[in-house]
């Protein structure tokens, strides 16, 4: 692997902002944190696994209310009328984030295959990583102030 995790996190943050700006709404970003993990509870989790020179995952986390706002911004459906579209929208936004990140990594010389997205919706969801992994967390804020998180997990090289 030629990229440091800091460089990869910068690519992931740029990819996320690009996807949201084109498909939903502009985001404010905090500096990505190498070693960071999604520690707090959330209501919606979209995840895509990748494999190749390294294996790991890209995960999108938000509250259910924020996921509804994202869905509304993507589809034009009023927030009050969003229902079954939300899991599909979060799966697709996760797919676009991971896919755009994958394309940037390929341009930098690292090739991955990625899975189709899976979305989990619940209450106070938390994740815990077992084994030896490297992590990084990108934190964003939507125009209304709702936080969104994108986490990168890489298995030990």
């Amino acid at each position: 692997m030629s990229q440091s995790i800091d460089a990869m996190l910068a690519m992931l943050a740029t990819s996320t902002r690009e996807v949201f700006e084109t498909m939903a709404t502009p985001l404010d970003a905090k500096p990505p944190r190498s070693g960071g993990v999604m520690a707090g509870p959330c209501g919606v989790l979209g995840i895509i696994a990748f494999a190749g020179e390294r294996s790991g995952s890209v995960s999108f986390y938000s509250s259910e209310a924020a996921a509804v706002k994202v869905t509304s911004a993507m589809t034009g459906i009023p927030e009050a009328e969003v229902n079954g579209e939300m899991p599909d929208a979060i799966g697709e936004i996760t797919n676009m984030i991971a896919g755009t990140f994958r394309t940037r990594m390929a341009a930098a010389g690292t090739r991955w295959a990625i899975s189709t997205p899976s979305v989990t919706i619940g209450w106070q969801l938390r994740t815990k990583h077992y084994g030896t992994v490297h992590t990084g967390l990108c934190e964003f804020t939507m125009p209304g102030g709702e936080p969104l998180f994108v986490e990168l997990v890489l298995t030990e090289e």
């Binding site: 996807v19 991971a98 896919g99």
Partner: protein, 121 residues
């Protein structure tokens, strides 16, 4: 002119159909994966196909290879709408038989331009 939109995401199908409607194309059929896409093509009358790449059951790439092997769809324009846009990906998709591609994320203007470009041949 009749379009076939193949994507496992109902929301993406809705967004693509909305973009097609916005440029005056109202005759659109839908399929949720490559297998359903082949079933729709078997009924005939499709003039252009827009397909995702990463789908369960039958991927967009397998779908394009399969439809290019059929007499009725050997030359039907195919636009792939995908996040898989590295040079290696695009070479593989072109070998399979796509006419052009749209990179996700996309705006409706970009989608419109690509559809018009493919239709011009």
């Amino acid at each position: 002119m009749r379009f076939l939109v193949v994507d496992d995401s109902a929301m993406m199908r809705r967004m693509i159909i909305k973009a097609l409607n916005g440029v005056g194309h109202d005759d659109v059929k839908e399929a949720g994966n490559g297998k359903e896409g082949l079933d729709a093509l078997a009924q005939g009358g499709i003039d252009m196909i827009l397909t995702d790449w990463n789908m369960p059951q039958m991927s967009g790439l397998e779908f394009v290879k399969a439809l290019r092997a059929l007499d009725g769809t050997r030359t039907t324009p195919v636009l792939m709408v995908t996040t898989n846009v590295s040079p290696d990906d695009l070479a593989e998709a072109k070998t399979a038989g796509i006419s052009d591609y749209v990179s996700k994320p996309f705006t409706s203007d970009v989608l419109k331009e690509k559809i018009e470009k493919v239709l011009r041949g």
